[in-house]
């Protein structure tokens, strides 16, 4: 077959979005394309999808790319839908789709792939060279169809791609089985049949679907795993998911803000399915998504009656068609999600649901496949699944089981979602801030690093107050080095001991199984227990002691024989705490040391003044740190001079800006590490707004922070706000969804200011 010239425009065939609008999944797309290559002829790729991770558009994009290549690989995409009610009807639809897409490709006419055509119509459209074999295929199909042998019919239809005569190209079948879960029952188990037929068909294929179901089907079909490759498809990561929100919002013409975008990403855990459904709902309801309130109102609407509601309701109805059982199931699932006892026996479930064992098995199997429960045959763990599922269950429980007034449930759901939003973001920001620790430990691989990076006191003695360049060159000249071990396994300490949840968050404490020298022997095995202690000041000995004992206790319980405790604190440790660490052979590092270590185990990685559309308003965005507050202060000086503020007032403004910037840097786990500064010139005043994204500190509530009773050092660090209030005429915290925004006003007093 001839290849088209590369400069010819790319045609969208099945893709619902353009290539440019398809966000993320680059490596997965590449992997699927590789599966179509001759080197993988006859091999299958199982695309194991996390529920709601979304796979359909990925496969459609792959289809379009292969279609446009015009090579001898003939792409076939078939998505199993809920409208096909039996394995037989789905298989017949597959046959129809196969013939249609084959002819579309052979005729190089994308429109044929979309048209509503019968097999007879397609036969008339078949190119002369293909007419004969397609006619035979249709005749054979007609015979098998009326043979009353469903299994034979299903196998015949699914095996159609192998009937392509030699020299007419090779089929590459991509089967989207995201909805395959609806075919768990019946005489013919569709997933198993697909794998049996495709596995022996001699053509390359991709079978995508819910991971638990696809793996189970492969085992049931006794698939030859040597001829199968696996690709796991999880939710989008924190780089790709915001891009998806932006692209879909633009396509759906939904206005969004960065704060709302990030909330969506976190609330839906990067799920393309939920994000796309949600933005579609926003378009349908002509709703902007600019504030947390906008997002949560629509979210609650969605839970009560939108796309998300329908998705969960369909799963529940298919899982448990009988209403009485369904209500009992909702009750059981919600109580498990809300309570402490998440795990119970199969028998307990059977008694609570009042169903026969085989019926319960079917229910649990469906829930297990959707990952709403974890069921191993004997015990059932509920309370798992995405947040939206838990919120949906709670609503259904209150409406259907408790019969509470709908208005009350709606109001509570909205209030709960709004209250949760800042916590959701705070958790995310803290995770970002702690990425350095996780990443650093995971990259330990017998590198030699200066020992002083694990000794806060030693580091402080040598380098406190030194310029970064001086520190880097000093570290390069250090002769006392330690060899890092090789990390072979790293997990949050909560994965080992859930009690730790009361003390720290998931990404604040890690257990790393390591081997010294990379030698895998008992003698060389050391478990590193690393904890990041939240503190704005140097951590004292009591806190260090408590943390050490906590970690040591956990190590004893878990049977770790050799441990290395490593504590990290933002500002390091007091002298006494450092001595304690040394006595216990534990390491202690400040965040600065961690940063330096991180740059040694990996290569690590900042804003001009812009005038806004308003001629009296200036916007500066500066990266946090590096004395960048001076840039803002100097800009303010220039602007204040235009307004003829007296030098003394200008100094006061500058100092206030410096303090506000320091506060923004110190008090937020800022995701972008930027400070946004707006200077608005009015006839009698200068209004300055300093904003940053991140966590709103509890003490920055606009009221006096009441530091009198706190320790002197803490009090000193609380001086910034006190100074700002004294130096400026009006100081006000503006309410923002994400982070802080401090508005400061200085009035121009004729003759005095």
């Amino acid at each position: 077959m001839s290849s088209r010239s590369s400069n010819e425009s790319f045609r969208r065939v099945l893709g619902r979005v353009t290539q440019q609008d398809f966000v993320g999944r680059a490596s997965e797309l590449e992997r699927i394309m590789a599966q179509a290559e001759p080197a993988n002829a006859g091999r299958g790729l199982l695309l194991l999808m996390e529920p709601s991770a979304g796979v359909s558009e990925l496969l459609r994009q792959a289809y379009d790319q292969i279609f446009n290549r015009r090579s001898d690989i003939i792409p076939i995409y078939f998505g199993i839908t809920r409208t096909e009610t039996t394995a037989v009807s789905a298989a017949i639809e597959f046959l129809n789709t196969f013939v249609q897409q084959y002819i579309a490709f052979r005729r190089d006419e994308p429109i044929v792939a979309h048209a509503p055509l019968t097999l007879q119509d397609l036969l008339e459209l078949a190119p002369p060279a293909d007419f004969e074999w397609i006619e035979q295929l249709v005749e054979s199909y007609t015979r098998v169809r009326f043979s009353n042998d469903d299994k034979s019919l299903v196998r015949f239809c699914l095996g159609a791609p192998q009937r392509i005569p030699a020299g007419r190209g090779r089929a590459f079948v991509m089967l989207d089985g995201a909805q395959l879960a609806e075919y768990l029952n019946g005489v013919v188990v569709l997933g198993t049949e697909i794998l049996r037929v495709f596995g022996r068909g001699g053509f390359s294929f991709v079978l995508a679907g819910l991971r638990r179901q696809i793996l189970e089907a492969a085992h049931d079909a006794k698939s030859d795993f040597e001829r199968l490759d696996l690709l796991r498809l999880e939710q989008l990561d924190t780089n790709e998911a915001p891009l998806l929100v932006e692209h879909v919002a633009k396509r759906q013409q939904v206005a969004t803000s960065e704060a709302a975008r990030d909330l969506l990403v976190q609330q839906f855990a990067g799920s393309p399915f939920f994000i796309s459904s949600f933005l579609q709902a926003a378009r349908e309801k002509r709703t902007s998504l600019l504030t947390y309130l906008d997002v949560e109102r629509l979210y609650v609407d969605e839970l009560f009656g939108g796309h998300i509601h329908r998705h969960f309701a369909d799963v529940l109805e298919e899982t448990s068609p009988r209403l009485d059982t369904r209500n009992l199931l909702i009750r059981l699932l919600w109580e498990a999600a809300a309570g402490e006892e998440r795990t119970s026996s199969f028998e307990v479930w059977r008694k609570r649901l009042h169903v026969a064992p085989n019926e319960l098995e079917e229910i649990l199997h469906r829930l297990h496949v959707q990952e709403f429960v974890n069921w191993d045959g004997a015990t059932v763990e509920a309370g798992v699944g995405p947040q939206a599922w838990k919120d949906y269950l709670k609503i259904r429980y209150r409406l259907d089981v408790l019969n509470e007034p709908r208005a009350l449930v709606v109001a509570d759901a909205l209030a709960d979602a709004l209250k949760r939003a800042p916590h959701t973001m705070a958790r995310h920001y803290k995770q970002i801030a702690n990425t350095g620790l996780r990443e650093s430990i995971s990259r330990f691989n017998t590198q030699m690093v200066p020992a002083v990076l694990f000794d806060y006191q030693g580091f402080s003695d040598k380098y406190k107050g030194a310029e970064n360049d001086a520190i880097v060159s000093g570290l390069a000249a250090e002769t006392e080095l330690i060899k890092l071990p090789q990390t072979v396994h790293l997990a949050s300490c909560l994965s080992f001991n859930s009690d730790m949840k009361q003390i720290c968050e998931e990404d604040h404490c890690f257990v790393a199984h390591t081997f010294e020298e990379g030698t895998y022997s008992d003698a060389q095995q050391v478990v590193w227990l690393a904890a990041d202690i939240e503190s704005k000041l140097e951590v004292d000995a009591d806190v260090v002691r408590a943390w050490y004992e906590r970690l040591e206790h956990m190590a004893n319980r878990l049977g770790f024989t050799r441990i290395q405790v490593w504590l990290i604190s933002n500002e390091g440790f007091s002298e006494e705490a450092s001595r304690l660490l040394k006595r216990r052979n534990a390491f202690g590092s400040s965040r600065q040391q961690l940063g330096l270590l991180a740059s040694r185990v990996r290569e690590t990685v900042a804003s001009p003044v812009m005038q806004t559309s308003d001629s009296d308003e200036f916007l500066i965005v500066v990266p946090m740190g590096e004395d960048n507050e001076l840039i803002a202060a100097n800009t303010a000086e220039q602007i204040a001079r235009r307004l003829t503020f007296r030098p003394e007032a200008i100094n006061q403004i500058k100092t206030a800006i410096v303090e506000a910037c320091i506060n923004a840097s110190e008090h937020s786990f800022s995701p972008d590490r930027k400070i946004y500064q707006r200077f608005r010139v009015e006839s009698d005043r200068l209004v300055i707004t300093i904003s940053s994204r991140g966590i709103v500190p509890a003490n920055l509530n606009g009221a006096n922070s009441g530091t009198e009773d706190k320790k002197a050092a803490e009090e000193r660090r609380g001086w910034g706000l006190k100074l700002i209030r004294t130096l400026m005429d009006e100081v006000e915290f503006e309410r923002v969804d994400d982070g802080t925004s401090l508005r400061m006003t200085k009035y121009l007093r004729t003759g005095s200011s």
Binding site: K464, G465, A466, E467, A470, D627, E629, L630, A633, E648, N651, Q652, K654, T655, V658, E659, I662, A713, R716, R717, W719, G720, K722, L723, T726
Partner: protein
């Protein structure tokens, strides 16, 4: 005994008094440098400190909290401390945050040294 200029803190000694020069912006980093230099001078036997702010145009609250730390260290070492040539806005800040209750301010370095020599010759008050 001037230390080299550049990124280090400039200082020199007059008798047993160390004069340490603060930079144009007193923040955490430069404050820590001054603290380090003051500690070094005290460890070397200096009995009094003058911190000269003639170059200092701007200070922030972290810098001021470090100055308080230096005052504490000086007190613990029985050393006198004087701040010289502090500009008016900075004096205001020091007053707002109560720093002037703990330190003597002098117009310039000469006045600071003179104040210190006067204090040295004054016999200690016995309670």
């Amino acid at each position: 005994m001037d230390t080299p200029s550049g990124k280090l803190v400039r200082s020199h000694c007059v008798g047993t008094t160390a004069v340490v020069y603060a930079s144009d912006y007193l923040n955490k980093l430069t404050g820590e440098k001054i603290e380090r230099e003051c500690r070094r001078q005290l460890n070397c036997g200096c009995r009094a400190l003058v911190i000269d702010f003639s170059d200092t145009k701007l200070v922030n609250s972290i810098g001021i909290s470090i100055l308080l730390g230096i005052i504490d260290v000086a007190e613990k070492n029985g050393a006198q401390i004087v701040f010289s040539d502090v500009n008016h806005p900075t004096v205001e800040l020091f007053e707002m945050l109560g720093l002037t209750r703990h330190v003597v301010l002098a117009k310039d370095e000469s006045e600071a040294l003179m104040n210190l020599s006067r204090l040295e010759t004054t016999p200690p008050v016995v309670h």
